[in-house]
């Protein structure tokens, strides 16, 4: 791969081409917020936290899906980007019922981390308080739609890594929901292999093992990326 030059926040960086802005930022310790990104899965640019400004491009692009090009001038730290990141996290909190105090993921939640990172101390928009199901039909795991942020990491890990295709998405707009098979209880799934990868992939307390209590959940999302790497070695 040819080596190219990019400028991120004024810093000159040499990198190989064909990689995304997010990968370059990670390699160079430039902080970049993400929620729907998980190493090992295809990026979809859905959470819009990794938005960057690129000189000569009049739109904001998601860093996780945009590949670097030679002499690209990128900014990840402008006031506009920071303001938008804060609004995005606020909207996540207002959208569903994120009651950290009673959540298993409390203290080990990527949404909380994102909130701290953008300095979010309160939400300026009205909470929507939607009615969400909690699916406890699976013998070991729980799917709590109250905490779901629709990052679809579970859907992607199930399809792309496990190959089972248990998780899917239904409906549109704010009615959008993660579903097991054709919207049947998870416990009755004929495709789920009970592998538990979605539990680790989930950034919040939406999918968790039954054996944990409030604030006790520990996750290992890096496992997904490691697994994908190991499989490549085997091939």
């Amino acid at each position: 791969m040819p080596i190219i030059t990019v400028y991120i926040n004024g810093q000159k960086i040499l990198t190989e081409s064909g990689v995304t802005i997010l990968e370059v930022c990670k390699a160079n310790n430039i902080p970049m917020l993400t929620l729907c990104h998980l190493k090992g899965l295809h990026d979809i640019g859905a959470c819009r936290l990794c938005l960057v400004e690129i000189e000569g491009v009049n739109r904001l692009l998601s860093g996780c899906t945009t590949q670097v090009a030679d002499n690209m001038i990128i900014r990840t730290d402008t006031d506009r980007i920071k303001r938008y990141q804060r609004i995005t996290v606020e909207l996540f909190f207002a959208e569903r019922n994120h009651v950290c105090a009673v959540c298993v993921a409390n203290g080990n939640c990527e949404l909380q981390q994102a909130g701290y990172a953008v300095g979010l101390d309160h939400i300026r928009y009205p909470f929507l308080y939607p009615e969400c199901n909690v699916d406890t039909s699976h013998p070991w795991f729980v799917m709590d739609h109250n905490r779901c942020i629709m990052c679809t990491r579970c859907v992607r890990v199930c399809t792309q890594v496990e190959g089972a295709g248990n998780w899917g998405v239904m409906n549109r707009g704010h009615d959008v929901r993660i579903i097991s098979d054709f919207n049947t209880p998870w416990g009755e799934s004929i495709t789920c292999t009970d592998c538990g990868k979605c539990v680790h992939a989930c950034p919040t307390g939406a999918i968790w093992p039954k054996a944990v209590a409030q604030g006790q959940l520990t996750k290992y999302p890096e496992m997904i990326g490691e697994l994908v790497e190991k499989r490549k070695l085997l091939q």
């Binding site: 979809i44 640019g45 859905a46 959470c47 819009r48 938005l51 739109r59 904001l60 692009l61 998601s62 899906t65 945009t66 590949q67 506009r80 303001r83 938008y84 609004i87 995005t88 909207l91 996540f92 207002a94 959208e95 300026r124 928009y125 009205p126 929507l128 942020i149 629709m150 679809t152 899917g168 998405v169 409906n171 549109r172 707009g173 704010h174 009615d175 959008v176």
Partner: protein
């Protein structure tokens, strides 16, 4: 079929039709069909026989003539006499008066009920006089279910010309020269798009036609597909030849049953004649087209979502870059254009890019079809040169506001567009001018509103549409549109404060800039444009926080 056979066929078809001195066209678009046009056509045919005019007058079904609320429409050519609201039992008298007594029935003429002196030649009516038809030229004239008639009207001549006397580069150069821009709404130069797809080297490329017209109140694409499906197909074939694609997909909205039927008929006929398939017209160019039916998601009009839908996946957009031109349908270079864009191609190739660019403005060449609706005297489908002023469209063509109403605003571009107020009535309808007013051209919906319209409620209505149609993939659009809708609802309900307007302003710009695709990117347009042009309507609705506190309500 080879080239010669095509020419022979065209000549034969021309002779066949020239044999008749008169032609009776019965509009069989969706709206006219709904008001019994098929029965009317049946009666027309029977009565022509009964009057013994079988050898002089031919009768045919045609596509939309543009005046959907006056249907069923019957047009007599070459006199251009149009009769409106024709009931099957009136047909006998009408034809007798027209052909035997040579005295057109005045009370059934087009606009007889609204104009003091209706025109016998409809082309002299202001509604048609100011129009300039390229795309709709043969719509309402030819039988959309008959490929022979299309060929008689120079159909597939452009394709033949491109295939046999032009290199793909020449075709692209001609399109570039015409300065044609995408008619789906964004207005990207079509020639440049073609060139990009052409330049990618790949043994498989695709051509896709976007017929997922989803804007409420818009029916331009439907009418073209119903009225002249071969013109769209021919455009796709020329595009396929130009960019080096061997396969095309026409993605048509599922609700458009008739358009799908007619387009499929067109495909069958073209295949039968060998205009689609392998080694077309004796060349080494092979091309085939399939229809894909949309399932009613507005977002599938967005090109990446449309591609996902064709692939059989959930119709959600994906981030660009990579653009479909590079990595589209099944990862292959893909050209996506709107129905109307394709319908422009054949005339451009036939008459030259120079000819096309003479119409319209410097930056926006050609014509644009608008679906004129709302509080307007003569609503319907119109085609005007780019740059025609809104005033001309509303007052000259559309006849102004009915009753004693007063013009307040025109909404262009559907739920993604904006409202243009009275003081900007003289704006020329082209991409840049509309953009500068905070609206967009969109696919061509044009809704006229009078003084009785409540602009805050209009903004809320369109926001509700976008909120329901958001695919739910990216956070700004999914939650942002819901939030904006709820805040607008508060204002409509008389519970909004200045604080809500401030929050709306902030959210609107955020959703516009941070959303993944064009749906979120344009959803705030009705809100932003009403805030900009009608701030007083918002201000009048607001209450002070004290009022809410008094009722123990949320601020």
């Amino acid at each position: 079929m080879n080239r010669q056979e095509l020419t022979v066929m065209a000549d034969q078809a021309k002779t066949k039709h020239h044999h008749f001195s008169k032609k009776v066209c019965v509009c069989c678009g969706t709206s006219c069909m709904a008001s019994n046009a098929e029965k009317v056509l049946e009666q027309v045919q029977q009565n022509i026989d009964a009057l013994g005019l079988k050898d002089e007058v031919e009768a045919n079904l045609t596509g939309c003539m543009g005046l959907c609320n006056q249907g069923p429409l019957v047009k007599v050519l070459p006199d251009h006499t149009i009769y409106q609201k024709v009931e099957p039992e009136e047909v006998g008298d009408l034809l007798k008066a027209q052909f035997v007594d040579k005295q057109p029935k005045k009370d059934k003429l087009l606009f007889a009920d609204t104009r003091p002196e209706p025109f016998v030649n409809a082309n002299e009516d202001p509604f048609f006089k100011k129009q300039h038809k390229i795309i709709l030229k043969n719509c309402g004239v030819i039988n959309p279910e008959d490929i022979e008639e299309y060929i008689a009207y120079d159909g597939y001549k452009a394709f033949d010309k491109a295939l046999n006397s032009m290199l793909p580069e020449d075709v692209i150069a001609e399109i570039k020269h015409s300065r044609l821009r995408g008619r789906g709404g964004a207005g990207y130069p079509t020639g440049m798009k073609w060139e990009t797809v052409y330049k990618y080297v790949n043994n498989q490329k695709y051509v896709v036609c976007n017929g997922d017209e989803g804007d409420p109140g818009a029916f331009m694409n439907r009418s073209v597909l119903e009225g002249n499906p071969h013109s769209v197909l021919e455009g796709m074939m020329i595009a396929g030849y130009a960019v080096g694609a061997s396969k095309g997909y026409a993605y048509i909205r599922g609700e458009y049953r008739l358009a799908i039927k007619r387009f499929e008929t067109a495909l069958k006929q073209a295949k039968k004649l060998g205009l689609l398939g392998k080694n077309i017209l004796g060349s080494n160019f092979s091309f085939d087209v399939e229809v894909r039916i949309g399932a009613g998601a507005f977002v599938c009009g967005e090109e990446t979502a449309l591609i996902a839908s064709i692939e059989g996946k959930r119709g959600t957009p994906s981030p660009r870059p990579p653009y479909p031109a590079e990595c589209g349908l099944w990862g292959k270079p893909t050209l996506i254009n709107n129905v109307e864009t394709y319908a422009n191609i054949a005339p451009i190739i036939l008459n030259g890019g120079e000819w096309f660019s003479e119409t319209g403005t410097a930056k926006s060449a050609g014509t644009k079809v608008f679906a004129l609706a709302g509080k307007i005297k003569y609503s319907g489908l119109i085609e005007v040169p780019m740059g025609t002023s809104l005033r001309e469209i509303v007052f000259d063509i559309g006849g102004g506001i009915p009753g004693d109403g007063e013009f307040k605003a025109a909404q262009t571009g559907g739920p993604s567009g904006g409202c243009i107020p009275e003081q900007h009535l003289d704006v020329g309808m082209d991409y840049e001018s509309l953009m500068s007013l905070g609206s967009i051209m969109g696919s061509g919906g044009l809704i006229v509103m009078d003084k009785s319209s409540d602009m805050v409620d209009v903004a809320r209505f369109f926001m509700e549409f976008c909120m329901d149609e958001s695919c739910g993939k990216c956070a700004p659009c999914r939650v942002g549109t819901r939030m904006m809708h709820d805040l607008l609802q508060r204002i409509v309900d008389g519970k909004g404060t200045q604080h809500d307007v401030d929050r709306l302003q902030e959210l609107a710009v955020y959703v516009k800039e941070a959303s993944l695709c064009g749906l979120g990117g344009s959803a705030p347009n009705p809100l932003l444009s009403t805030l900009r042009h009608f701030p007083e309507e918002y201000a009048n609705r607001l209450v002070s926080p004290e009022v809410l506190i008094h009722q123990h309500l949320e601020l």
